[in-house]
Amino acid sequence: MSEVLSKDEAKHVASLAKLNFTEEQLDKMVSQLSNILDLVDTLNEVDTNGVEATYSVSNNVNVLREDMADNWQQKDQLINNAPESKDGLIKVPAILDGGDINE
């Protein structure tokens, strides 16, 4: 198995992506990702010296429009979609582990 991705690196990536894995799941993920990265490493066979990168195939550069409010009276509907709300605001758990400031 390739050493492209270590388990510690995978742990770091998981924390960046805000995903939790058990040790067993992480081992499987490392093995599968390493396998995929082996395939990706074939890109090194291609000489890309001086080749520009393509991040989009759209020919549009800047698309401008009038800054007009449109279709904006949807606050109640938006709040209704939130898992929790209070007084017309979206409610989330405490940012620091200090309990719920509302209670």
């Binding site: 960046l16 995903l19 995929i36 698309v63 979609n81 939130a82 979206i90």
Partner: protein, 487 residues
């Protein structure tokens, strides 16, 4: 008529105009058939029985306008395209309770034509997969053989059309997700040029690759649907500000003297012999219709998959950050802090394949690896685009197989993600280059499974792609073969 397998958009439109049946009657029949057929097929995540009848009654009250070809015709909408007031899950647990408050631009455009949205079709979770097996809502079966996958990610859209539940569905295609399921189900599927159709309201996967397109029984039906959904949109800054031609206008003009390129890499090692034979017969067919066919080379074909999995997964990892349990969708509130809520929501809400792509993308974009992976893949993308540009200096279209094999058995490719990824080797380069690509049935394997022919065109030249597909369809009449469904 209880299903649509022997119909076209034009034939049903004519019957509606002549009042052979009402839109409500038609919709009720489609709902009844779909409900029955879907017990095995599972093409739909949500069948909108009440909503569809309500839409149908409204159209009946207004009457069918002869010029409005799609009016009153029931269709299926892939469940990663948002529909106002109708559950939109993207086949994920994380959106299992998400009801959008707006319509995607394509939905708005179709509603303006008076179409009936029968329901939301199944897909691989967030369109990540090639078999519709990663859906949180169960697998969809192939319409021709219920032991085989329907392909993916637009497997529900393809199966719903092939089985005759609806006349057309919309799908989305990031690496082959319209063309490959169209091939596996023996129907016509088009991925338009990047920028041809607005992506507003399509739940984003790979934003530089995604396009919405139609899946239909016939080529002309496909052109009729593209007519209705194409065009610039001020809500999608990558949509192209170009006039939309009538795609049916020159569709019957034939392929005499059309210059067709066949990349040798598309018929090389790894392509199933039955697929190769079928495509070689298609090449002979085009020659006999007067086209000029020559072999060419797209030398960087094989690097497409590697570049795609880095670019597509990177874009996905960025796009899927929005699913955090704060504003909509599933939210796990068992933890104490906001950070725990994010982690628990995403860990519980996403399936395995989606997590794998998020991990791959996050890794490729992370400090120290960006140049080696993300930038390198984007440079190889440029080289692949140059391969295509060179061919299109001398040719009008490129043809080859859509996929290396016919539909594979359910459950057979789940063990190794890389095996599954290889199914997209012939479709991915087209997304990387942003070109239009269409799949049409070209024949059957010894197991009587459909084999897709892929037709690739120049950017914004869907008209020539349709013209070639129409000529092939007229000569082969393969669309008249219909699936038995059960084995």
């Amino acid at each position: 008529m209880s299903d649509f397998v022997n119909e076209t958009i034009e034939s049903v439109h004519k019957a509606l105009v002549q009042k052979e049946f009402s839109v409500t009657e038609l919709t009720q029949r489609a709902l009844d058939f779909t409900e029955k057929r879907d017990q095995d097929l599972n093409a739909f995540i949500t069948l909108d029985k009440d909503g569809a009848i309500k839409q149908a009654e409204e159209i009946d009250n207004k009457g069918i306008d002869d010029d409005n070809i799609l009016a009153g015709i029931p269709m299926g909408m892939k469940d990663n395209i948002v529909t106002k007031g109708l559950l939109t899950t993207s086949a994920s647990k994380i959106l299992s309770n998400f009801t959008p408050i707006y319509d995607a631009t394509v939905v708005e455009k179709l509603k303006a034509q008076g179409v009936v949205i029968l329901g939301k079709t199944n897909l691989d979770e967030f369109a990540m997969g090639g078999s519709t097996e990663t859906s949180y809502y169960g697998v969809t079966k192939n319409a021709w053989d219920n032991t085989k996958v329907p392909g993916g990610s637009s497997g529900g859209s393809a199966a719903s059309v092939a089985s005759g539940e609806v006349l057309y569905s919309l799908g989305s295609d990031t690496g082959g997700s319209i063309r490959q399921p169209a091939a596996y189900n023996g129907i016509v599927g088009l991925k338009p040029t990047y920028g041809r159709v607005s992506r507003w309201g399509l739940i984003a996967f790979g934003s530089s690759l995604d396009q919405i397109g139609p899946l239909t029984r016939t080529v002309k039906d496909n052109a009729l649907v593209l007519n209705a959904i194409a065009g610039v949109d001020n809500k999608d800054t990558t949509s192209a500000n170009l006039e939309v031609p009538d795609y049916t206008k020159n569709i019957e003009n034939g392929v005499a003297n059309l210059r067709i390129a066949v990349p040798k890499e598309f018929l090389a090692e790894g392509i199933d012999p039955e697929v190769k034979n079928t495509i070689n017969l298609a090449i002979e067919q085009f020659k006999s219709l007067g086209a000029i066919v020559e072999e060419v080379s797209i030398p960087h074909t094989k690097y497409g998959i590697a570049a795609y999995y880095i670019l597509g997964s990177s874009e996905a990892s960025s796009n899927l950050q929005r699913f955090d349990g704060v504003r909509y969708g599933f939210s796990d509130r068992t933890g104490k802090t906001l950070e725990e809520m994010y982690q628990n929501t995403r860990t519980e809400g996403f399936g395995e394949e989606v997590k794998r792509r998020i991990m791959l993308g996050t890794f490729a974009l992370s400090a120290g690896f960006y140049d080696a992976y993300f930038k390198k893949a984007a440079q190889v993308r440029t080289i692949l685009i140059n391969d295509f540009n060179k061919i299109f200096e001398n040719f009008d279209i490129i043809i080859g197989p859509t996929a290396p094999t016919p539909a594979f058995a359910l459950g057979s490719e789940n063990a190794d993600p890389k095996t599954m990824y290889m199914n997209d080797v012939l479709t991915i380069p087209v997304n990387l280059a942003g070109l239009p690509g269409l799949s049409i049935n070209a024949g059957f394997s010894s197991e009587h499974l459909p084999i897709g022919l892929q037709i690739i065109g120049k950017a914004f030249d869907e008209a020539t792609v349709y013209k070639a597909a129409f000529a092939f369809e007229r000569a082969t009449q393969l669309f008249k073969q219909i699936p038995g469904g059960q084995k």
